[in-house]
């Protein structure tokens, strides 16, 4: 009688006793991760790779800043990280043999430092293999985004020149970062200042390679989408700018992207009722098909990025709306999916509010290889320290392990 008791008890204990060495990180289908170096780190861009994700941020310390490039696995766990000093980051370009960071660099040796558009190329392990900058020491040049033209085997970078007449420019580079062509001040409309947002993408249409991006036109601050056809003479690409409804808040990252039926843009529309998210669809002829302005509850809603999927457009934004707590004014990250027809008021998808009492904002969202979505943004916690945040959700908008 005693032996069975003892055997059962010992068996239970032995089955429960495992070595801590056997513990492996959870294979998450979803995750929330924070990344940062000492100082503040803002999330800028994220790209989906076959074996993980590439994360880009800007790290700011007391007297300097740097571009922080991190490769993580599909669970968000770091594979490697590199910090490139004296630059700020905006966008990433993925090549077969490495990665390119697009951003700004400041020449601090200059008594009146101006930023230059700055590109750094790394190998697949993040080690620098080349760099270049574009500027004139008179005006500040900003690099905002990049894309790769597979037909021309060229790197295309988007930026704007900061002066009394902000102007968007497009620049082509060979993959070794030697400069191929430049097109200044070709874009925008009605002689308004044009400031490019970090939303460049390339696509093929009617057998031509085209580039699309979103600019904010000043002083009236409408949003405009630019489409450019890279013809034989790339220094004079032809294109068109379409404006769409509403004012874009300058400090909110509007976005422009391809969709299954054309293109989609999101912006933050500011009016007397506060800020709301606007979403516009364009057909393949670049004509606007729908423009919706969602007045959401009592709070302000800001758009940062959009990605289209077969289930609809997924918008990354932020909001100061807090269900059941009108006293809070901090912003949380907002992720929502509209239906495929563009109806934004009739959500068929999901809606997530993610954040605490600090300030959480979004930057970019991409569709992951498993059909879910991955977003990058910035968390400023209650003691004012900023870190990059990366949020991976499944295709139902759930944060489930």
């Amino acid at each position: 009688m005693r032996i069975p008791y003892l055997t059962i008890a010992l068996g239970l204990l032995l089955s429960a006793c495992q070595s801590l060495d056997s513990v492996e990180p959870a294979q998450d289908k979803a995750f929330i991760k924070f990344y940062g170096e000492a100082g503040d780190t803002d999330g800028k861009d994220i790209r989906v790779l076959d074996d993980g994700y590439l994360i880009l941020g800007t790290n700011t310390q007391e007297s300097t800043s740097g571009a922080l490039l991190i490769k993580v696995d599909l669970n968000g766990n770091q594979m490697w990280g590199q910090l490139f000093d004296k630059m700020t980051a905006s966008g990433l370009i993925i090549l077969d043999d490495g990665y390119i960071i697009v951003g700004d660099s400041i020449d601090i040796s200059n008594t009146d430092p101006k930023t230059t558009m700055f590109l750094i190329k790394t190998d697949l392990n993040g080690a620098e293999t080349g760099r270049t900058s574009v500027g004139d020491n008179i005006r500040s040049f900003h690099g905002t985004a990049g894309a790769f033209d597979t037909n021309g085997n060229e790197v295309v970078a988007l930026g704007y020149i900061e002066d009394i007449n902000d102007s968007t420019f497009l620049m082509g580079f060979n993959t070794d970062l030697s400069q191929a062509w430049t097109r200044y001040r070709a874009f925008g409309k009605d002689n308004q200042r044009s400031k490019a947002s970090p939303s460049l993408f390339s696509f093929t249409q009617a057998d031509s390679v085209r580039f699309g991006w979103l600019s904010v036109l000043e002083p009236d601050a409408p949003a405009g989408v630019d489409f450019v056809e890279a013809g034989a003479d790339k220094s004079t690409p032809s294109g068109v700018t379409n404006l769409f409804t509403g004012n874009t808040l300058i400090d909110a990252n509007a976005d422009f992207n391809t969709s299954p039926v054309g293109f989609v843009a999101v912006q933050s529309i500011n009016d007397t009722n506060g800020s709301s998210i606007g979403i516009s669809h364009f057909d393949t002829d670049i004509d606007i098909t729908t423009t919706l302005d969602r007045k959401q509850r009592d709070g302000n809603f800001y758009a940062h990025a959009v990605v289209s999927s077969s289930g609809g457009d997924v918008i990354l934004g932020s909001t100061d709306f807090h269900e059941g707590n009108s006293n809070r004014t901090d912003r949380d990250i907002y992720i929502a999916r509209a239906d495929i027809t563009g109806g934004f008021d009739d959500l068929t998808g999901f809606e997530l509010f993610i954040g605490g009492d600090g300030e959480e904002t979004g930057a970019k969202i991409r569709q992951a290889a498993d059909g879910g979505f991955i977003a990058i943004g910035t968390v400023e916690n209650t003691n004012k320290a900023k870190s990059m945040v990366v949020i991976k959700i499944n295709n139902k908008g759930e944060l489930l392990n």
């Binding site: 008890a9 940062g36 170096e37 100082g39 770091q78 605490g356 320290a385």
Partner: protein, 361 residues
């Protein structure tokens, strides 16, 4: 002079003893004197006189517990020898109710008395008591979760942490002479303390530290089997093994984080977050332990040490990403690891035996 003093003491001592003894005899109550008389009569074989001497004193509760037990023993013996079976049985039952731990003396007790005694339930029906418990708790991590990255950039360091208060009520039911079933109900506090150190993804330098303490209150229902080693009537050793069903009453998370090299930014201190909803409320553990029992009165002082191995995950898998209070994640950058809770507990208590003597069929 010295001789005279010694002589004086030698003469005086017997006198003093006689006086004291006489005084004690005079101080004895009439019922106590009757008890002595009854014992003499029993020894002389005058059995029929005993009931008359003792019954009134017993019925009017004139005896101490020990005297009453002695009186009832004599009454029972007298009834046996007077062949008054019904009265003998009633007297034996009264004797066992008066002295729960009355034991026969096979050397001097008559066979008829022993046989009658053996027809009664004289063992305790159960035992019950209270204990004070301290424990040292440490999670056994089954799933490492990190709000940062686990690629070598974060260390989770858990230590056995003392929680000072626990209270238990114990019950024992004897199965055999050596095996006891031992259910309990316990209230226990547990503290889970961790240090997390995060390094920068590019620099490798420490950029963030987080000290956490999760204070949890538990209601536990352990059921154990106890194997007794009877070293003597007064001293026993025991080994224990069993299963505990555990209900989490509350969980309060306190975190203090520091961004290193951010001297201008104050650390978050004193943040307290109720995390009960992020825990599985029902859990199970396996128990193994041992201790000593020291006989005191009708019970035992027990000192016991136990090791409890958690069998179920305390933290909810999905709440690490969506905690009930988002500040757990977004203010402290904390995500629960998946863990079961182990603890070492030491208890001191007293367990009393409860006797309900009755005639067996």
């Amino acid at each position: 002079m010295k001789r005279l003093t010694i002589l004086f003491i030698a003469l005086l001592s017997p006198l003093t003893l006689a006086l004291v003894y006489g005084q004690e005899e005079e101080n004895k109550s009439p019922c106590a004197q009757k008890l002595e008389t009854a014992q003499q009569k029993y020894d002389e074989g005058r059995i029929q006189d005993i009931e008359g001497l003792l019954k009134k004193c017993i019925d009017t509760d004139q005896y101490s517990k020990a005297e009453k037990a002695q009186a009832l023993r004599l009454m029972t013996l007298s009834y046996i020898f007077l062949e008054n079976q019904e009265a003998a049985e009633a007297s034996m039952l009264a004797l066992l109710k008066t002295n729960h731990e009355f034991a026969i003396n096979e050397a001097i007790d008559p066979t008829e008395f022993i046989n009658l005694y053996n027809r009664y339930r004289t063992e305790p029906l159960f035992s019950a008591g209270l204990k004070y418990i301290v424990n040292w708790t440490k999670p056994y991590v089954t799933n490492l979760n990190s709000a940062f990255t686990l690629g070598g950039n974060e260390v989770h360091d858990y230590t056995y942490t003392l929680a000072s208060f626990g209270l238990g009520a114990s019950f024992e039911y004897k199965l055999t002479n050596n095996i006891v079933i031992y259910p309990e109900i316990q209230y226990m506090q547990r503290s889970i303390v961790s240090d997390r150190i995060v390094s920068g993804p590019a620099s490798g330098a420490e950029v963030y530290t987080l000290k956490t303490q999760d204070d949890q209150n538990w209601l536990m229902l352990p059921v154990s089997g106890q194997y007794l080693f009877h070293l003597s009537d007064q001293f026993k050793l025991f080994a224990t093994a069993g299963i505990s069903t555990e209900f989490l009453l509350s969980s309060t998370f306190a975190g203090k984080n520091t961004e290193l090299t951010q001297a201008t930014k104050p650390s978050v201190g004193g943040i307290a977050i109720t995390a009960t909803a992020d825990r599985n409320r029902l859990n199970f553990s396996a128990i193994i332990g041992g201790g000593v029992k020291i006989k005191v009165s009708e019970g035992f002082i027990t000192v016991e040490a136990r090791y409890s191995q958690g069998l179920t995950r305390v933290t909810k898998a999905n709440n690490s990403l969506s905690p009930s209070d988002p500040n757990l994640l977004f203010t402290t950058f904390y995500q629960d690891d998946g863990y079961r809770l182990n603890h070492i507990a030491v208890s001191v208590g007293y367990i009393k035996r409860f006797y309900f003597p009755k005639k067996l069929r």
